[in-house]
């Protein structure tokens, strides 16, 4: 499939990309769950995975000049692989050009299946015999997956093209996977505040301010996401607690605040872009991808990383313990983690990459965009959500009670 390639990436091209791929990663949660519901009703096969991802592949994906061709050097020393490899990942997260180039170079056929949340991936992989080879969990799930042996230790000798020194230290060797024994970062991002500055007249800079004005000045016009880590976590930061609090007293205060806020919200939804675009909502919790896309399309849209902190996250490549085709999984990782190919991924998905060499190859329109790559000092206060937060029954029940409250 030879599609004409645009050789340089300008803001218009990014805008086009953004419009074409308006379905962001987490909003897919609602859509895929909804599709599952609809299918159950119609008595069809459940559309988990690739069926639901039938959003059209973007033809005009425009690689930057420096990374215009996928690197071909992989095959030289990579282990021999063949057959089919199943990749369990997020929607619109991989550059089809890079995948196609890998298929061509290796002879491996990639079966791409997409999920709306790490929790969904976990449900599938925990049930066993999922057929998944490579899976891309968020940081907070990794520790539990390693403990329960859902993913296997990475044998770096099978990744001859992996160079540790190319990677940004901020995202390597983190507490959730010391020494990166089981995971290698793919893309990362933040959880921030998105707002329409024509409607929200003040500059919104902190979570404290967000939760104050969400229920007062902008009553009926604010949105929080349907994910306990991000919503309870951001509220916790605004109240001066840790993003990861599991303290019953602190969670009690957060619950009281959010339950009182709930009737004054426009919605609790992870599908934050449509209301923000329509001006149904003016103020919203959002993830990097939503921020980039809305800001490109609506001149007055802002996306800020809060002054008082918030969530920083990484999605990482890992190999399932029961991977049917581990050889192909290694061949894929060895290929896709090379800077040229990693840069192609970011050019496509517009989430920042943890590989500095890949970042260096990016078009200035992407690497100098402060929504995609915030200044390093903006990140210092941010926290990673930890496994205990992800697994905490108390956090889960607190969130359920907030959602069920009148």
């Amino acid at each position: 499939m030879s599609t004409p390639r645009v050789s340089r990436l300008d803001p218009e091209a990014i805008t086009r990309l953004a419009i074409e791929r308006r379905l962001s990663r987490r909003q897919f949660l609602a859509a895929s769950g909804a599709a599952a519901g609809a299918a159950a009703l119609a008595g069809c096969a459940p559309p988990t995975g690739s069926t639901a991802s039938s959003a059209p592949a973007v033809e005009s994906s425009a690689p930057s000049s420096a990374a215009s061709a996928p690197a071909q050097s992989a095959a030289a020393s990579a282990p021999a692989a063949s057959g089919t490899m199943t990749l369990a990942t997020w929607p619109n997260y991989h550059n089809p050009d890079a995948i196609a180039a890998f298929e061509q170079a290796s002879g491996v056929k990639v079966n791409l299946t997409v999920y709306g949340s790490t929790e969904e991936m976990e449900t599938k992989i925990r049930a066993g015999n999922s057929g998944i080879d490579v899976v891309v969990p968020s940081n907070y799930a990794v520790e539990g997956w390693v403990a329960d042996k859902l993913i296997q230790a990475i044998d770096y000798t099978k990744l001859p093209n992996f160079h540790r020194e190319d990677w940004n230290a901020r995202f390597m060797d983190q507490a959730f996977d010391k020494g990166n024994t089981h995971t290698i970062p793919k893309n990362w991002g933040t959880t921030g505040i998105a707002y329409r500055s024509e409607k929200v007249k003040e500059a919104v800079t902190s979570w404290k301010q967000f939760f104050e004005i969400a229920g007062t000045t902008y009553q009926g016009k604010s949105v929080i996401v349907d994910h306990q880590i991000s919503s309870i976590g951001s509220a916790a930061v605004g109240m001066g607690y840790s993003l990861n609090t599991i303290d019953p007293g602190e969670l009690g205060k957060i619950e009281a605040m959010l339950s009182a806020l709930k009737p004054k919200l426009y919605a609790i939804t992870s599908d934050v872009q449509p209301p923000l675009r329509n001006e149904d909502s003016w103020l919203s919790i959002a993830w990097t991808g939503d921020g980039v896309q809305v800001a490109r399309d609506k001149a007055d849209a802002r996306y800020v990383v809060a002054d008082d902190g918030g969530e920083l996250w990484i999605d990482s490549y890992s190999i399932a313990s029961d991977a049917p085709n581990a050889a192909a999984a290694y061949a894929f990782l060895d290929y896709i983690l090379q800077p040229e190919n990693a840069a192609l991924e970011t050019t496509f998905c517009l989430f920042p990459h943890a590989n500095d060499k890949a970042t260096a190859l990016l078009d200035p329109a992407i690497k100098d965009n402060e929504i995609i790559y915030p200044k390093p000092e903006r990140l210092t206060k941010l926290e990673y959500a930890v496994n205990a937060t992800y697994n905490s029954p108390l956090r889960a029940e607190t969130w359920a009670r907030i959602k069920a409250s009148a």
């Binding site: 997956w145 426009y266 959602k403």
Partner: protein, 283 residues
Amino acid sequence: MRQPRRPGAGWLLLPSGFWYALFLVAPLVVLAVISLGVRSPNGGYSPALTAEQYASLATRFTPFTNTIVLAFAGTIMCLLVGFPLAYVLATRAGSWKTVLMALIVIPLWTSFLIRTYAWMFILGSNGVPKVLEAFGFDVQLLNTPFAVLLGIVYNYLPLMALPIYVSLERLDRSFIEASRDLGAGPFATFRQITVPLSAPGVVSGCLLVFIPVMGEYLIPVLLGGGKTYFLGNALADLFLQSRNWPFGAALGSAFVAFMLLVVGVYAWVVRRLTDQGRESSLL
């Protein structure tokens, strides 16, 4: 009159029996077993034999009442809209019948998701509220219980109208003529003949609407903005967010038990109604 049992009937039931055992009985057994377990520390299921999941069912009382209230309201609204529709279709539509029927049925061929998504734009602030704004009304329609109710009535109306239509269609016209001949006015005829004879259709229509709405997940998410929380949403969250399979299984089992109760009441009502129907047809 009972027909004598023919040899070989058991063999004919084998495929459906196998299907039933494999895809209904077996999953229900799995559900029951998991509901007696505990959540493993990293989520999922850990074997145990405890009723503690059932003990915490009360924590999901609000979604349960939300669901019941809106399912009842939705069923009644469907009935109020669906009965006149079916009545016109069965008695007054004439040569338009086929066209009107097609208009009711064809939307069902479109994905439920797409039809519901369309309402998001109709009810969103650039839709109907924009028009109302021109007349000086400032209203929010999307993400309210009203929007959820509207979505329910819109999506489930055919399931109400069609069975009522069938029972009205089958209604023997000579009863109505006899009633009029014997001096009853149109309203008395409607009340004493049409309504009782269409009751089985009404009851099955109500059930066809009520049961799926009780399990509704999509409409509250898309049109309720996550603020109207149904049992279906509570169940989905337990599996996909909290990863608390045992509690999810217990809630699911309790839900199945409750719906069996509803169906039991339904069967009883239908038996009474059809007995009455037979009596009145004998008179």
